[in-house]
Assembly symmetry: C2
Homo-oligomer: 221 residues x 2
DNA sequence: ATATCGCAGATTGCATCCAATGCCAACGAA
DNA sequence: TTCGTTGGCATTGGATGCAATCTGCGATAT
């Protein structure tokens, strides 16, 4: 009774979770319209929990709602995407600092595994999955509530462009990514918070600058 | 047209706005329970738009929802509040940097007015209002979407504790606040973004450290 | 006396139906 | 031909009623 039956208790949350996965997986393109009735039918529910789900996803930054008009899969302009990366560059090192003292050896080992696996080379979909797991796992020691949620939101809202970018240049398009991952794991294993923060900030910053060189990813339609 | 003024957005948004003001004004204490039916009756609406409003306020960080159980006015622990200030310390200078180049002379003059007015001394309620207007106005030149919203959320979620703290030490409890405001306006008028960012970061940091000396503001019940 | 089980009241969650709003195409006038 | 208007249609927003779930109090057994 205290386990987790109420986690996905409400239909609204269940629908939100499934929709979130679908959007993050790329099943819906940014800017695509979402009709309440379609989703309701797809999940065998009425439109009330669908509206609930859309609200949740809006607060996640994955959906844009316009009153009396409809819902669309959120899309970012290049400027907005760079903005997100600027925010991440400043707060993810902070989150990492909260996390580092609480990372158990097992997790540090797993991080090394993930970095090695990415460096060894994989397909794009796997790389995206591993990269996401790598970074979010490095934050898993943090017991923060607001900061962790905020970072999650930022990751989600840029997931699509991260995929588009990786598809463009390939999972090995820039070796620096792997070097930075290795340096980050090294700093974490030494417990060197300061160095880890610096490497991470540089990692995010470099990604932002690379993204800025590909405005075609943000073409409006 | 002859009906009620429901044209300014959906009823859910109207209710959310009114509730938000009430919470920020302190009409509801953190941790207080919010029953859907009470709010619905108060606004002469059904519970559907009330739930919409509660969702909006949850994404604002002002309300905590628990499935099948209810809604409460959000309350922060000291650790969470310090966390919010750590985030603000890192991203508000960034927002200020986006804003500064677009601040018109009129706004700079108004900022000077506000700083002077606070320094001249007022009651607590007025000080809180002026301080909020001052800082948010200094960000008004920024055309950012995500960053501005994030900062707004953080301000809202800590508003209650800012009020409690100011009530405790008075609007003149620490002169440094006014000096920092004056330094900030000076840097803004000179267009010195770097200095403005530094002053602002210090301002937020000092406030965080002061808050940390008053854990009694966060007593749980 | 204390802990546990169970029932009743209260509260939230969801489905159905109806109203309001926005979009769009067809029509008419300049 | 082009612009403005108007009507219908599709979609979202809201109210009511009912089902599911949780909290609190009381009874009972140990």
């Amino acid at each position: 009774m205290t386990t987790s039956p109420s986690r996905d208790g409400s239909a609204g949350h269940r629908i939100a979770g499934r929709l979130r996965d679908a959007i993050l997986r790329g099943d819906y393109a940014p800017g695509a319209r979402i009709r309440q009735e379609d989703i309701a039918e797809e999940f065998g529910a009425s439109r009330i929990p669908v509206r609930e789900a859309l609200r949740i996803l809006e607060s996640d930054g994955l959906v844009t709602l316009v009153a009396n008009t409809g819902a669309w899969v959120a899309h970012l302009s290049l400027a907005e995407c760079e903005e997100v990366y600027q925010i991440r560059e400043r707060i993810e090192p902070l989150l990492l600092r909260y996390s580092l003292p609480n990372l158990p050896p097992y997790t540090l080992g797993r991080l090394q595994e993930l970095a090695d696996q990415m460096q060894a080379g994989t397909d794009v979909a796997t790389f995206l999955h591993l990269d996401r797991e790598f970074h979010l796992l490095s934050y898993s020691g943090a017991t923060t509530s607001i900061l962790g949620d905020t970072v999650h939101r930022l990751w989600n809202s840029t997931q699509h462009y991260r995929r588009a970018f990786t598809l463009l240049i390939g999972p090995d398009g820039n070796r620096a990514v792997h070097y930075e991952h290795q340096l980050l794991v090294g700093a974490l294993r030494r417990g060197d918070s300061e160095d880890a923060e610096r490497v991470l900030a540089g990692h995010i910053r470099r990604t932002r600058l690379e993204l800025g060189r590909h405005p075609e990813l943000f073409a409006q339609d």
